[in-house]
Every structure is written in structure tokens, then in C-alpha cells.
Symmetry: D2
Subunit: 341 residues, 4 copies
């Protein structure tokens, strides 16, 4: 998304949490924590473990060479490991022991999601409170309900607001739950069965999880239901906010005048026209995430122990869905702050 479009329909705060820099930092963190855990279990020399943990604390990768490695290998990890080893001397041989690219990538992705979940939760709480306040401000007031785009009967403002709030509350709770299922440490080794850790895979995962802020689960390399499930909740959140957006768009029609939106956007051609921009963008983001969800679910068809095609498809879609959901929450708050009946 270009910077201009980001200012309309993106989310800079979330974008930063999804940046390459953030991801690489999580990856380095994973390798450091793994080395410490393997050192404690005697799988690598303890001094190697300490050296790895110490030396990589402020590791600054050569991003251009990482990009070249990404293009060549399809994943960034081989080149990242090479760069890390270059500063580790002899201890470099103990780095990345037993593990594989996908362990690093999936764990780092889980850490990114883990950092984003509280932001989303706080925003959703803000919206739920905002909806309550909106209903309270208009207690005793009615709106005209519309079914099939036609005038029907009056309903209390509270009943209208409930149709926006209740699904967001449910979707928020399920997003947290799906987030919990996704933020699991990944530790399976080259073929995803944990066999490369010589019987220590469960122990290592149990140590790694807490150190990385992740839950503990058996390896899930080719079991992408966690990713699909999380994406579904993202699309649900932006979808229910799209309903809020379409309702406001319809109610804000001049002929209806059922809602006032402060600070609506200007037209370059018609001087006094006020366009409820955020409401429209919420609809666009909902439709975007809906379609993206269908694309992401294609990646459930994951060939054998690791599919480059299916994983690349996830990387193309999931970060965009996360950012879109963030933008939906951001714009819904902006809209909510500006409407009254």
C-alpha cells in the first residue's frame, strides 16, 4: 500500500509492528532463546549458548544481503543465519542447531501477532465503550428502521447500536481466542516432526514458549488451520465494522438525515458537499478482507511437510489482512467519535 493510500485505508502503528525490522528482531530473539535452552539441556556447549545470547543482543543485519538471500532461497533464514554466524566465531556452529527456516519464520510471525493482539483488544474495547456511550447519549430517541432498503418502523437508538456492538464484542472475543491458538511456538526441525532435537523437542518448546511470549504446542509446520482460523476472525472483525460503515453511509444520505457526521470529507467540485469518508472506507476494507480470506484459505492445501507455494501465499495475504483489520478499527473509532443522531 502506498503512503498516500495508507493514510486513507492503512494503519501505520500496525504496519510498524509488521515491518521487516520487527520480524528480523523476533527471528534473532528466537535463535538466542533456542541457544540458551539447548545450552541448558546440554545440546550445545554452554559457553556457545551464552556467546550466542550475548553477541546477538544488538545484532544488526545487512538488510540488502537479506533481501538477496530471500530472493535466492525463498526464505530469509539461510542468509540471516550466515550473517549471525559471521559474528559468532566458533559458537556459530551451535547456532540454529536442529531447527529449520520454518521454525524461525512461524515463531517470528507468531511473535508479531502476539504484539498486535493487545493493540486490537484495546481498540475493540474502545469501540465497545464508544458504542455504549453513543446509545446512552441518545437514550429515549428513535431511529427509523429500514428493511430491504425500505422504510419500516421506528426502533430505539439502543437497538440500532446493539446491531453494531454485539457482533463486534463476539468477534473480538473470538479474535483473542484465535490469536491465542496462533501464537504458539513452532519447533519441528527440518521435516516438522521434532526428530532433529534428539528427544528434547517437547522440553525445548516448553522453555522457548514463555521466553518468547508464546504458547506451547506440538510442531504445526504443515497444519495451517491456526493461520486460517486467525484470518477468519480478522475478516469477521472488519466485516462487522463494514456493516457499521454501510449503515452510517445509508443513514447519512441527505434524503434520510438520520445521522450527522462531523468533519466529513470535501469534494473538489461541489463546494458544500460532505462525504462520510470513513464510513465508505470501512465498507471497502470489509470487502477487501472478505475476499482476502478466501484467498488465504487456499493455503490450507499445503503440500506435504512444507510448501513454498502455500507459505508464500500466506505471507502475501496475512500481513495485509492484519493491517486492514487495524485500519478498520482505527476508522471505526474515528467515525464513532464523529457521529450523532
Amino acid at each position: 500500500m502506498s503512503p498516500l493510500l495508507t493514510s486513507l485505508s492503512g494503519d501505520p502503528e500496525i504496519e510498524a509492528l509488521l515491518s521487516d525490522e520487527a520480524m528480523i528482531a523476533h527471528m534473532v530473539q528466537f535463535e538466542r532463546a533456542l541457544a540458551m535452552a539447548e545450552g541448558e539441556l546440554g545440546m550445545i556447549p554452554e559457553d556457545h549458548a551464552r556467546r550466542i545470547h550475548q553477541e546477538l543482543k544488538d545484532f544488526a543485519p545487512d538488510m540488502a544481503r537479506l533481501a538477496a538471500g530471500m530472493e535466492r532461497d525463498g526464505v530469509v533464514v539461510p542468509e540471516l543465519v550466515r550473517q549471525m554466524r559471521a559474528v559468532l566465531g566458533e559458537a556459530g556452529g551451535s547456532l540454529h542447531r536442529g531447527t529449520t527456516s520454518q521454525d524461525v519464520i512461524d515463531s517470528a510471525m507468531a511473535m508479531q501477532v502476539g504484539a498486535i493482539l493487545p493493540v486490537f483488544s484495546a481498540r475493540i474495547d474502545g469501540l465497545l465503550n464508544g458504542f455504549d456511550a453513543l446509545a446512552a447519549r441518545h437514550e429515549g430517541q428513535n431511529l427509523l428502521a429500514h428493511t430491504r432498503m425500505q422504510r419500516a418502523l421506528p426502533i430505539p437508538v439502543a437497538a440500532k447500536v446493539k446491531t453494531w456492538r454485539a457482533p463486534l464484542r463476539r468477534a473480538g472475543a473470538m479474535l483473542s481466542e484465535a490469536g491465542r491458538e496462533l501464537t504458539m511456538v513452532q519447533l519441528g526441525g527440518p521435516v516438522g516432526d521434532g526428530g532433529s532435537f534428539k528427544g528434547n523437542d517437547r522440553l525445548l518448546a516448553e522453555q522457548l514458549g514463555p521466553r518468547l511470549g508464546l504458547g506451547v504446542a506440538p510442531p504445526w509446520h504443515s497444519e495451517r488451520d491456526r493461520v486460517a482460523g486467525f484470518a477468519a476472525e480478522l475478516a469477521k472483525v472488519s466485516g462487522v465494522l463494514g456493516k457499521f460503515g454501510t449503515d452510517v453511509s445509508l443513514m447519512a444520505q441527505g434524503e434520510h438525515g438520520q445521522v450527522r457526521v462531523e468533519e466529513a470529507g470535501a469534494s473538489s467540485a461541489i463546494a458544500d458537499k460532505a462525504n462520510p469518508v470513513a464510513a465508505e472506507v470501512l465498507v471497502a476494507l470489509a470487502r477487501y478482507n472478505a475476499g482476502s480470506l478466501g484467498t488465504l484459505h487456499q493455503a490450507l492445501v499445503h503440500e506435504n511437510e512444507s510448501s513454498g507455494a502455500a507459505l508464500t501465499l500466506e505471507w502475501l495475504v496475512l500481513p495485509q489482512m492484519i493491517q486492514t483489520t487495524g485500519a478498520s478499527l482505527r476508522l471505526a473509532q474515528r467515525l464513532l467519535d464523529r457521529i450523532s443522531f
Copy 2:
């Protein structure tokens, strides 16, 4: 889906549970139960309630006229109510009291889903047991793992089978949960706020739920997250089975010979060729449901109190997704019964 295609990629058992006849029967059931509940609460005369309950027990609608009504009104309910009233005499005036088409349709849809959930659960249990048995039969045996379509290292059969079984187990549990969230009575009246039931809406819903085998929830006319969430779990189930299908297709390649499939399909041109048909169809169904999920989520953008466009879109997509999921489960069992390593 045509009968021939149904025999390949459909599910006659599920199709029957989704039939017009089944749906209309649920609708009649809803009206009978509502009348009884309203009679008990004194909202309609008790003899009307009894008459409605009695008289409609074996109600046989004129399906051709229902179809004409569906085309005219966009929903089947106005014509169905007309036909029911025609056999009820004076009691007809008490039929459908306070309620509206969408209450009837959504509740009937929930009842259909309620009838299908145990079928899906039983099939999933059958598959989980089958995967266990498959792993047990091949204990101590290895397969060659493949990452990025390339030979990697050997893994135990149990580790391979786990990549099929574990996500299905999780998806099955979440399908049940999402099914529970969807099989809620719908009772909101013309504008979905329950106002037409004169303060009795919660009481009525509490009575209707158990009578119809549904849970009790506030009206959810325009809150379609329940539908979207259920569809997401359907797509997840067929998606993880698509992974099983693609793995078997790849392992069954003659050059690999890592799996034997009994009773594979014939070619019309090459005499001794054996095609693992069910495995391929599992992939097709997974991709179909993935895309359909994206389409269905568009219906979250539901205009105001009831959107004819969004509801029609649900009706076009959800039954197909349910049938596709049923077919995935059916074919996965067929495939599982025929493979060995």
C-alpha cells in the same frame, strides 16, 4: 449441482437435510411452536394456538405456489403463511403473530444446521479413529518427508498421519462450537428489535428455543457473524481435508509410490492407469469452499435492519458450502479406507 456431479463431489445425505421440503417443514414447526408459546402467554387465544398446532401438524404446502411467491416476494414466507392461513379458518389471524419472514427463515436455517451437525460430528469422529488405526497399522514404518516438493528426510508414519489428524480434530471441535453459536432461535419481529412481541420477546425465545432444538439468544437479524463464523469452520474442515488429498495425490505418484490406493479410477484411454480420484476431488472441494468463504463474508456488510441482497447471497453460498463439507468428509473416509503405505 447436477446428479452426475453430485455422485462425484456432492453428498446426497446432506442434500436431503438441506432440501426445500426439510426447510418448509422446519418453518411450519416454527409457526406451530410460536403459536403454542404465544397461547400460553395469552398473546393469542389458546384455542387458536391449539388449532394452529394441531392443524399444521401434517401441513402439505403447494410447492408450485410457494415458488411463485418466492420469486415475487424474495422470500417464501408470505405465501407460506397465506397457505397455512387458508386451512386455519379464524385461527389463521393468530398465526405468525408479531413475527416476520426473517425470524422464520433464520430459525429454519438454524434447525437445518442443527440436524446436520451430528452427521458431521460422527463423520469427523470416524475419520479421527480411522487416522489412529492407519497410524497403528503402520507402526514402526517410515515415509520420506518432502519439503518444498523435494525429498527431505524420513519421518514416522505416525508423524505424517498426525499432520492430517490434528488439524481435523481442532477444526471439528471449532465447527461444533460455531454450530452451537449459529443454532440460535431467531425472534426479532419486523425490524429485529423484538418490539412487536409487546415485552414478551425474551420469554418467547426462551420457550421457542428448546421446542425447536435451538439455543436462546437476543435477535440477530442483521448480525451475521454467526453465519460467517460457521462458514469459516466449514471451509477449515474441507481445507484440512484438502491437505490430506493433496498429500495422497503426491505420494501416490508412480515415481514415489509412497501410498497405495485401492480401487482407483479408470482412464478411458490408458488401460492400466489408476487415478486417485477421491484425493483429487478433496483438493477441488477445499479450493471451492475456500473461495466460497470469501464470497460469503461479503454478506457481513448487511444493510440496516434486513438486507435482501446480503441474505440472498448467504442462501446462494451457505448450503453449497455445507454440502461441499459433507462431501469432503464422505470422500476423505472413502480415501482413508483405501490407502496403505
Copy 3:
């Protein structure tokens, strides 16, 4: 689609042209024409060719056994060939010579599309004329334009109607063109290179094409751009009609009253409410076909010389898209016949 839903959002005329019976009839037609052509080229005995042509003229297959074959083989052709051979005696050995299931299936599909194209063309012409008449009836009259859901400035009725008519005209022309590209004979033999016809593949295709009402092209077994391109034009047709539907829905809002729709649908709860059903369904069909197009394009990723997974996905999606497009055209005409400004 169930019969009730078909009455709302389906198309019985198109459904009949897509039926199993129609498809099987095309397949038999293909085998008869192929035998005649091969007889003339001396590839099979001329009396066999005549016998095949004669005997299969009124061939009535056992549909139940075809369904069983479809399930077993993934395609209907092996069982269909078996049944045809059973009535052909010795000539049966000359049936299906050099060809393969996919030749038969794709050619029959092309013939189905060929039968549907003139129906679509006629309907589109009807709509284009109808839009002209609508504009003429309201010459000199203005409507209030709306940008971003807000009142803007008056525009002539003709300018409004042009936004519905012009894209339909363009889409109709491109649908015809894409239809021409798809209605090509398929004759490639078991691996799609024509090699099984002993150098006669081009000659045979040139003879078969005209006999079957199809164009002549090199084999296109695994080149599915023709299918994807045709589907894109279907979605474009229903999409531009969805714009017509959404505009009418918005203009028909009681607060706007910019369009009158005769014979609008009834509500079961609110007596005098008129719902512009066809307009809403046009929107639903547009969204359905849009999403389906995304799903169908997944089938461009067609593995090697023939992919059971990709072909099954086409069969699941394309007929539905064709029927949906038919329904869009049908409902757009219905709506157009009933609106005035």
C-alpha cells in the same frame, strides 16, 4: 440450487441446457461425429463408422450406472463408452478411437456453451433495447445524481441509463468473443498432444468442428485460459447488472422516490411495504459471480497434462456462474419492464 431458490435467483431455461441429459447427448454426438470423421480418413472401418453413427443416434444411457462410473473414475466417460460399446457389437472396438475422456468432456462443455450463447445474446439485446426505450420514455426528464452516497447535481435520465447500458453493451460483445474462444473442439488424445491420431489430429479437428458447431483449434487440454476468460465475461455481465440493481435499490428508497417499481414484493409483517426484490437479487448475483470468478481462476494452476483437481473445480464453479449470469439477465429484464422515473 434448490427449486425454491431457483425460482428466485436461478434460471430454468439455462439449467435445462446445462443438464446431465444435455451434456451426455453432446458427448454421444461427439463420438458419432468422431467415428464418421475417422471412417472417412480410413482410421476405422467405414462400416463401423456408419454403425456407430446410426446406432447411437437415439442412445439412451443408464444414468444410474453413469453416476456410479462418475464416482469411481472421476469422469463419466469410461462408463459411457462401456455402455455405448455394449450396443455396438464388433463396431464398439472402433468407438472412442484415439481419443480420451477430456476430449469428450471439454467438447461437450463447449457445445453446451455454444447452445447458451445465443440465449444470452438475445437477452442482452433485449435489455439494450429496453434501456433505449426507457431513456426515450423519459426524454427531457432529470434525476438527481448521487456521488459518495450524497446528493450532487441533476443529470438527464439518458445519462443515468447510459451508465447501465454502455457497460452491458461492451460486456455483451466481449462475452460473445470469449464464447467464441471457448467453443472450440477439443481433440488431443490421452496426453493432449494429438499424437494418438497418427498425424490426423488437425484433419480430424477440422472435420469435427463444423459437425459439432464448434471452432477449430489445437488441443487445449491443460490450457484453461479459455475457460477463465469466458468466466470473467460472465462475471462482468452479472457485475454490471449488479450496478443496475444497486442503483435501483437506492433510488427506490422511500426517502428518495426516484424510481417506481411495479409489482414489488410483499412483506409478511408490514402490510403496505413494497420491496424491489429483483434489484436486490441482482446485487446478490453480482457478488456471487464475482467471488466465483476468483475461485475459478484457481483452476488455471492446472497440473501437467490433465489435473483432476483443477477440472473438478471448473465443473463445480462454471455451470453455476453460467446459470447465475442467466438469472441476472432474466431478472434485469423483469426489473427493467417494471421501472419508471
Copy 4:
């Protein structure tokens, strides 16, 4: 797409042509050309026209304030016009005369596409030549065909290569054609009917088109079939390249060894493993664009004279599809340069 991911699956050359800076430059170009044409027609004072043309030649906007305007107004144009007027003095009143944001945005988008089309054409030509050369290098050589993932019969290399080349040739031709249909000047004024140009709209469009390198067409504000049609050809191009990618992935399986890929990617865990990265990414890009196409077609349902929701959805999807298509072409060439049989 993050820089790292771009290095794998993006296209820096295309990204630059799609940048905000490029788009703003096109927009300024549009305003300059419009002023000149309006000056010649006497619609604005000639010295104003000259001043606008001169003064804005090297106009450097304040991008931060453009971003703020984009967020506020939903489009960048009102703020851009404000900034341009600030440097124009009295002539500023003649800037943007009769036109509206969407004219500027759509024309600029058409100019961006116009700049990208020759890049795509050249790349497609390169691939077509490369496929010819590949077939020529392996003349007389056979490959083993696979149908339904199973070994079938040998086919000539030329027949295999033709299944990659022929659909790309057709898709390339249709992409050019769809590009021609999209690269049309947009000039409709505030409500898209050209009425604000006082009878000069056709004349102005005829002058603007050639100056901007665009074709001439009546205003197409709410007629988005041009956009949808272009996107369909993008998805077709990446889709047929996805078939190339999946074939190479399958043929490169170690058990098959039907294709050699030089410089395949490294694994971080298994030393001598070679992963055909570009082939896998081609599959991912095909699936991504397929799904995106379905999302974009939702924007055909464009409300009335200008829909903020539908346009924003286009902006979210189309540039990504263009970049993905560019990346597909880039990676296909990379792969083609490295394979032999």
C-alpha cells in the same frame, strides 16, 4: 508488501511506476493539459492556461499535506488542487475548471497503466521467445506426460512447452487489448455526464487523450467494466504462469528428475537440498491474483454516480494485482533462464 517480501515476490520496476510520486505527476499533467485545452476553447483565459501549464511543469507537492488531505477527503485531489492554486495566483481560479476528483484520479490511473503496458508486453515477448528457444534446444527429446498426477505417455518437449507458451501468447494479446480499453481519458465532471463542460466535453476529451497518451471515450465514472476487464487479464497472465510454475515444481521433484533448475534455493537445515523457489512463487502469485480478481469484481457494484467504497476497493486491489503480475513475469523469465530437460 515489505521490502524483503518484495525481493521474493514483488517487482521494484513496476512498483516505481505505481508510486505516489508517479501518480501525482500524472495528475498534475492532467490539470496542465486540461487547462491548455480549455484555454484553446476559450473556456478559461488563455493567459491563465499558459500560466498553469508553465508554472506546474515542475510542481513539487507537499506530500505530508497530501496524505492528510487523502485521509480527510477520501481522495487526494482537493488538497492537491489547493496546493497547485497556491502557486498560481489569479490563474488558480481557472485550474480544475469543470472537472472533478474522479476525472483526475482515473485519468492518472490510466496513465500509470499506459506506462506499464509496454513493460509487460516486452516481458511477455521475452518469455515467448524463451519458450521457443527452450523447445528448440530440446528438439527430438521427449518428456513423460502426467495426467491426474499419474505417469501417462511420452510427449515431445515442444508439446509440453506449447502448453505454457500458447496460453501466455493469447493472454498477452488480450492484456494489451484490455489495457487499450482501460487507458481512456476520464472527463465527466462532478456527476460524470460531462455537463459541467458546457457542451465541450467531447472536444476536450479528444484534445486531452492524445496529450496524455490516452484513448478517447465518453465518461466512464461509474462504468467499471474497464477496470474489471483489465484485472481479469492480469489474473489470466499470472494464472497461466502459475501453471508453468506448478509443472516445473512437479517435474523437478527428485523422484521425477524431468527438469533441472540451476541456482535453486538453499535450505537452512539440509545442506544439499535444492528448492525451485521461483516455480513455487509463481504458484503463490497465481493463487493470489486469482483471489484478488474475485475481490476486485465486487467493485463492479458501484453505487450511483460515484462510490467511495467501490473506488477505494479498486485502489486496494488493482495496484497489487499489477505488481503481482509484474513479479510473475519477472520470475517466469528467471525460471525459464535456468531450466533444462
